[in-house]
Symmetry: C2
Subunit: 219 residues, 2 copies
DNA sequence: CCAAATTTGTTGTAAAAACAACACTATTTT
DNA sequence: AAAATAGTGTTGTTTTTACAACAAATTTGG
């Protein structure tokens, strides 16, 4: 079966064997599509008929306002699904765009088939729903974390809020973050150069230390 | 049955009759509790054993960092559930606190019973799960909206992003928002007085007009 | 209906952030 | 290995925000 290895590696279909996968591909009226770097996968305003499962590569979700300002809202990696929450919330149009950040392979899943499980209510569907609940919940928690950091008033407090959380998760003052500096700035929605200045200050004051993506939160 | 009217009015149990409700109360090991204004319903760090359904009154979710700064993350009204996403995401402890903003009645639901449906897999449980998926998805969409506004760089852009969205939903340049000025400022995570100044400027410039919770977005 | 509490608008000042421009380093690509 | 691209740190300037303090308006509760 085409791309079974990629499907096997996703959270949503990972539980299933090849036969089950094939059946679900049919059930969700799926189709594959590849995108080159910087190509638009979804445009904000598009009708939400299908959700997008990233199978290879990665993509970023961004919002462009009427003045042309771009906000990066999320990063999607292999196994992540775009549009899932919107679909289950009954949204009719996409509010944000999805752009391939490298050459990527995606699988489209029909929204209606996803929301209204097929007649032959099978073990498969039950598992998919269960996985979807978990995925949405996890993604919700991630968003809340991000909001918690962003709610802080200064760049320093935003950084510290984020670092503290990663430190807790790592259970060590030494930890690695999944962002480079530019990405970290856009994650926290602050100016990159201002953040860079703040990081330097904090290092000078002995609060943190860092190298590349490795950080250390002192005391 | 006690408080059936309130249960009937919630999204999670609204579909059910009194008999079904009674059965589910047993199944989810529920218990009622009332809180006075400003009483702590959940403290951040508490073990997440139960989720909280608000039946009467309202509450706010807030986060206090190590420096004592308070960020308001969410407002819960009748029918809203606190901790649902965290529970399904497998979180073990509450990350934020829940404070009653007026005299309130809440219903606790056992986390494990919620996540692992009881043996007698019945129509009731199916409905509850379906409602929960929708609730989590809707709450996720709300959070994304908030994130979109907060990602804007200036207070003015944050306000405009929010107003535009409400205007779209209302399908009219005249609309009402669910916040007073103080609440709006904390929703957007900006200083209230700075926001007040900005609102005045925008009114002077003829971009918006407002009175109490009524707003008008001109052009 | 009055007193108390809360909300709102305004001002000036201090602090912080965005912005722009640039040099330097690291990473990819060919 | 060279060239092109992407990422990083620094600086000075301008803009925006937070903060504090207060009076006026509004809402709430007895």
């Amino acid at each position: 079966m085409e791309h079974f290895n990629e499907l096997k590696a996703t959270k949503i279909f990972g539980f299933a064997g090849e036969f089950d996968c094939q059946a679900m591909m049919f059930c969700f009226k799926t189709r594959f599509k590849t995108f080159e770097k910087n190509q638009v996968i979804v445009s904000q305003g598009d009708r939400l008929e299908e959700v997008v499962l990233v199978l290879k590569g990665s993509a970023i979700a961004q919002n462009i306002d009427s003045l042309g300002n771009i906000s990066i809202l999320n990063e999607l990696n292999k196994g992540d699904v775009y549009g899932l929450e919107a679909a289950y919330a009954g949204q009719e149009f996409y509010k944000d765009s999805l752009i391939a950040s490298e050459k990527s392979l995606v699988l489209y899943l029909n929204k209606h088939r996803l929301i209204n499980p097929c007649q032959n209510r099978c073990r498969r569907h039950e598992m998919v729903i269960k996985n979807i609940v978990t995925m949405i919940a996890e993604s919700h928690v991630k968003l809340l974390d991000k909001l918690t950091h962003m709610s802080k008033k200064t760049i320093r407090d935003k950084l510290l809020s984020y670092f503290h959380m990663v430190k807790e998760q790592a259970n060590s003052p030494y930890f690695e973050i999944p962002f480079n500096k530019t990405e970290l700035a856009s994650y926290l929605a602050v100016d990159r150069s201002a953040m860079s200045t703040e990081l330097s200050k904090m290092r000078d004051e002995g609060i943190i230390d860092y190298d590349k993506k490795q950080y250390r939160l002192i005391k």
